[in-house]
Symmetry: C2
Subunit: 761 residues, 2 copies
């Protein structure tokens, strides 16, 4: 009997086939390499999970060989490292570790492991990518977006993935121009320091457009393809509704685009479709449950919910979870009292208080208010409800905020879909649907890799509605990108709407959830939008622009810069430096440009530069990229605007006063009642996600510039418990766009011979 | 000046990068090969489009060199073959064809082209695939479907594709286990003879299940992996609704499955999601149009539908098409008279006569009858309508029947969505939405390649609802598969419901559309299902099976074989031989099995064999495969049951009497009125797609066996003009399933660590 200190490292793999072959190949082609070192390095490189299991310090030889034999039989175990004194290698242990089932078993000396791991970590430090940018030869006048997109041949997505350091096992191609990236990457690069984190936000939007997406894409094109700095853009997936409605696509524009733009704007890799399916499964489960409870006795419900299968009745795991929430600690279905059965089988959802809506990724205005359940088979259980556009689903907000499968599953289960007749919140978990939702969303959780016109990498992932959610792309895409670019690299992401909404939510909600710290805000403005904030006339689609917008008018520009100044100040509230990006139009005069830059810098912006990516690609925004690089290297003092422990009212007031410039807030009785209810349910410590018009700093869309002297009315308050925020409603938010008389689709077509798409923009 | 006969072949490619490299590699590694031959063969092999352009027979040397130089500048031109007399190779022509921009230019002598093409075609003849089947080691007792699926590691889909003769350029991977296949394959293999075409159909379904899908998969596993014959299964994509409702998945079962079964049963490659998006865009366009017409003057509508863009007004191509249908031969918007404007801008859809429904891929019974448009913004235009399950969309029926992009686009445009107040049919083209639909469906038209448990190929494509459509997988998948297997190979496809419905529609609708000729029908039966047709008692889910089904009862079997006999006779009506596949259950006795086989053969079946793929994989169905192989080599005399030129009533009567065994049909006044209307609109020559219960040969679901002496009532008649059939309604067809009290989703879950899915079946 030998007493020994013993440590076993297990390697788990679900990509056994390939990895085994790679290991073999590497061992065979590197005869000089010690097998142990080769294996360790290779395993780490190919991203296998290495798990350490320590056996008791004092154990017998027999126990050790038994343990090894047991591990040999676990089909998921791919290799074993034993750390144990040389002296311990008795015959029975040696026998046990004889390779079986093609497994590699290695006995290594601890120092070797430490040394090789250290070397491996050093190799993980920042290295410039060997990126091969695509050449761009901009034409003048600038052709249509789809023409520019089509004229460029994208790199095979597998090539781009390799260039930015992804391993083949981490990629799931969807055709040749899109690929999903596995979250296991986060594990492989966990010791890699993050890159710089840049947020693109805007002044208060006007109908003239500011171009945040094009700035985001133009900036990474400049950083990657021209300054040769690793950089990633992280974008939202656009809803397909507006693509066929009014707005058109959202892949950027001109020579700053994601390509192929039709792939970006259409189904992409199916994430929004998955959200729609998951969201509507919850909705179908709610109404079916209301019907079944209304038409069955407790006993009938119980015998159907917990049926006898081959003579055996048992609760499923999700039913056990509900029993626990009800405080019933029983696991045998025959043990429940009639009262307990009743509590278990009846969610007793109040049809008037169902807050869950169905969704659809189409601009279908006729679904804004509907009555469902009017068929005879639904036995008089009709009720009024509505469809929202798919991106307004709470599941989209969850996708954007989650940090992994386990967290997503937990959030999906916590989603509150309504309340019972006695006022208790009813969740997706109570409906028994959590696991199915996670299964429907298992691929959607992986971000999609695409590329810009210049062949630089882009993640497209999540796109929550900015009206009632936080309007930012996903935490997971940002995290993956920050690891891939490495310490000296840049990740550029975009916030929806103006900085007062998108940026505020980015900081207070998204960064709070992710733990990531932003380094720079790029604030986008245009001369013509500033003129509108300065009091310029309204514009109408289809009518030529008023002369104020196409000839020099320094007074309007100067007045409109009030809005720019205010947005800069908002960023500074959070301690983050600002670079102003003035998106060039050919009607801008030099005097106007100089004026904006002067005011921006006087207002505290670290830099203000004009940029020309729309007409010239990344080369046109090199100056912006240099400014961002310089400012990102400065120390910053990021802080949240409020503490979660502040009262709900206090949190809302802080945002209203400090960000919007309101004198105070005014709560409706409904809003006050909701706050009391949420506090009572324990939801009071969630962050706040304001649902306010984006067209003004105030709640009045027509008030441009910097409105003052107003009281912000809080009409009602809702909560997305799964996503994890409370959203006060300031005015009425439409969650379903409509189609105009002549939707975009009139011009969209497909050439059946060349397969070329026309009319997308 | 040289006069000459001249012919130029252009090679277009959108995969320039890869093909160029391959060409170079092949030229470099085959120095003995004449470059011209190498290029031709390689171009054909890698599936480039070779386009022939003939210049005028008499042209000057200058014109020739100019033409060549122009072609050199077209970035899509990848190579040029000139066919011209040697004498014609003057210096200026030689100069013009100097390789530029990495292009290969070859001057070849015609005989070479002919000779090498002939050799290439010879090489395209049937060759057994170099398929590497996956080994199967069936366990007993048979584990759950998901456990069996998970225990097998699928081949990388790119490897399978290569094994069955697909080129890398023809594949679009969606992850590592699914890939879409390009339709260009049909062009590349156009001279390849088709393989044998096998249809799997069933006796009239019972709640006990017959297992058509498992037979389909077990049969190809036996043919490919055991008899070493090239063979493909072509399956329908299942709706996701039932996966989470009652039915569970549809990937086969036991050891005859498509893997990974969770990929098959969930989003797959997004085709159903694309159909949902396209279908609902039409619906949104309909209601929005009704609203806009109701609230605007002719002038306002016209100025919005044909707006002035930069001072220019013009009709879009789809608007020009509408003008032509209206008989207005004008192209300048300012030329229309007020009456013409009115005719153009007003579809004047009658809200009561909109036949287009919204769809959703969820079992949501509360959407069976709904009222939409109740929000104030819809200004009182509320109307009653419904959602169908997504696979019931006419667009799904079109996907299943189309033969390419151009045909699909045309069918989408022809879809009738309702009628105007004066009774004219209104189409998707009138709504201006055709091109957008084609764009949404551009990827869905490509079949998805997957594999069976034994690593043999499967196409999954389309799955139209068998109640109101034809319930068969796609024509395109069958066509691709028939080319890939080659002359001696087999394609096995499945028809929904019993042979009286699925098979009849397969022959009369699908084969008529595709022009393909079936070689064998495999008719699936089970002993227990036959017992039910023989008068066995009803069964109830969750209650043990009555003793009749688990112990020998020859009388019930003998009586039930009436249904089997009738279905064999139906196949013979079409001139196609039948092999009966008796799907084995462990309770079957040898006497029962012998009895069924005896009766089947006495009824005219060419063979009748028991099969065991469920418990033993392909090896368990080798006997069936051998029988199918033998019967397929016999000559057959396939014919349709009716001529399209027969009257609608005559066609319906033929099906009712010859297939169902009815004495006659009885038309309701509504049905008669519809027939008159369709005849007047010129739709009378379409085939008939009966919407009848699948649970009986008659219209009365409770009548098992072979009902006689009944009159088939035709309640109403509808038409899917885009898909191209008329569907008489026999009774009420539900087009939206519901969720039961305890849906499947209670047991479905995802392990967040291993990412393994549980509870799918």
């Amino acid at each position: 009997m030998v007493k020994c200190a013993l440590c076993v490292h297990l390697i788990y793999s679900d990509i056994v086939q390939r990895s085994r072959e790679e290991l073999k190949a590497i061992r065979e082609t590197n005869p000089g390499l010690k097998p142990t070192l080769a294996i360790i390095q290779v395993c780490l490189c190919i991203g296998l999970n290495v798990m350490q299991i320590c056996l008791p310090r004092q154990c017998t030889e027999e126990e050790v060989s038994d343990a090894i034999l047991r591990l040999n039989e676990d089909s998921r175990v791919y290799g074993i490292f034993l750390h144990l004194p040389q002296s311990f290698l008795s015959k029975s242990v040696r026998n046990a570790i004889k390779p079986q089932k093609d497994m590699f078993v290695a006995v290594v000396i601890c120092q070797h492991v430490v040394r090789s791991s250290r070397r491996w970590i050093q190799e993980q430090q920042y290295q410039p990518w060997r990126l091969h940018p695509l050449k761009l030869q901009p034409l003048s006048p600038v052709p249509s977006d789809i023409e520019i997109s089509r004229a460029q041949t994208p790199k095979p997505i597998s090539q781009l993935a390799q260039e930015v350091g992804l391993l083949p096992e981490e990629l799931e191609a969807y055709g040749n121009t899109k690929a999903k990236v596995h979250l296991s990457l986060l594990n492989r690069l966990q010791h890699q320091p993050n890159g710089k984190y840049v947020l693109v936000a805007g002044i208060t939007p006007t109908p003239l457009g500011e171009g945040k997406s094009t700035v985001t894409i133009g900036l990474v094109q400049a950083l990657s393809a021209h300054l040769k700095l690793n950089s990633f853009a992280c974008l939202r997936q656009p809803s397909q509704g507006p693509t066929f409605g009014v707005k058109g696509g959202a892949a950027g524009g001109g020579y700053a685009q994601v390509i192929p733009m039709e792939e970006f704007n259409l189904h992409l890799t199916g994430d929004i479709h998955a959200i729609t399916a998951a969201n509507n499964l919850v909705a179908a489960a709610i109404d079916a449950r209301i019907l079944h409870e209304a038409t069955q006795s407790d006993k009938a419900l119980y015998s159907r919910l917990v049926p006898s299968v081959n003579g055996v009745r048992c609760f499923s795991p999700i039913q056990m979870a509900r029993l626990q929430r009800l405080g019933i600690n029983k696991s045998d279905p025959s043990d429940l009292t009639p009262e307990e059965v009743r509590a278990f089988v009846r969610l007793d959802l109040d049809p008037e208080k169902v807050t869950w809506q169905r969704v659809i990724d189409t601009n279908d205005r006729f679904l804004r208010k509907i009555t469902v359940g009017q068929a005879n088979t639904e036995k008089g259980n009709a009720r009024q409800t509505q469809f929202d556009i798919a991106v307004a689903s709470e599941i989209m907000a969850i996708l954007a905020l989650t940090d992994g499968l386990a967290d997503m599953r937990a959030r999906l289960g916590r989603m509150v879909v309504g309340s019972s007749r006695n006022g208790q919140p009813i969740t997706a978990d109570d409906l028994g649907v959590t696991g199915a939702l996670a299964v429907l969303m298992k691929d959607a959780i992986k971000p999609t890799l695409m590329q810009t016109l210049e062949g630089t990498p882009v993640f497209v992932h999540a796109g929550p509605f900015a009206n009632i959610a936080h309007g930012n792309s996903s935490v997971l895409a940002d995290k993956l990108a920050l690891k891939l670019v490495g310490e000296e690299g840049f990740v550029v992401t975009e916030a929806g709407f103006g900085a007062d909404i998108g940026m505020e939510k980015f900081f207070n909600i998204k960064c709070r959830t992710s733990g990531l710290k932003p380094d720079v805000v790029v604030l986008v403005a245009t001369v013509r939008a500033l003129k509108m904030h300065g009091g310029g006339p309204n514009v109408t689609a289809g009518v030529p622009l008023p002369k104020e917008y196409i000839s020099e008018n320094l007074q309007l520009v100067a007045d409109g810069c009030s809005n720019l100044k205010k947005q800069i100040q908002i960023a500074h509230l959070f301690g983050v430096p600002v670079v102003v990006a003035l998106n060039a139009f050919k009607t801008d005069t030099q005097a106007e440009i100089d004026l904006v830059c002067r005011i921006a810098e006087a207002s505290g912006a670290s830099a203000a530069v004009q940029c020309h990516h729309w007409s010239r690609g990344g080369r046109g925004s090199v100056e912006l990229a240099q400014a961002v690089k310089k400012v990102a290297s400065q120390k910053n003092y990021f802080q949240f605007l409020y503490n979660l422990q502040d009262s709900v009212v206090e949190k809302i007031r802080t945002i209203a006063q400090k960000v919007y410039g309101a004198d105070d807030i005014e709560l409706s009785p409904e809003a006050q009642a909701k706050i009391d209810y949420y506090n009572q349910q324990g939801f009071g410590a969630l962050p706040i996600c304001m649902a306010k018009t984006h067209l003004s700093l105030s709640h009045m869309p027509e008030k441009k510039g910097v409105p003052t002297g107003f009281i912000l009315p809080i009409r009602d308050i809702r909560a997305s418990i799964g996503a994890g925020f409370i959203y006060p409603l300031v005015g009425t938010m439409s969650t379903m766009p409509g189609l105009p008389t002549r939707p975009c689709f009139y011009d969209i077509d497909l050439d059946p011979v060349t397969e070329e798409i026309k009319g997308l923009f």
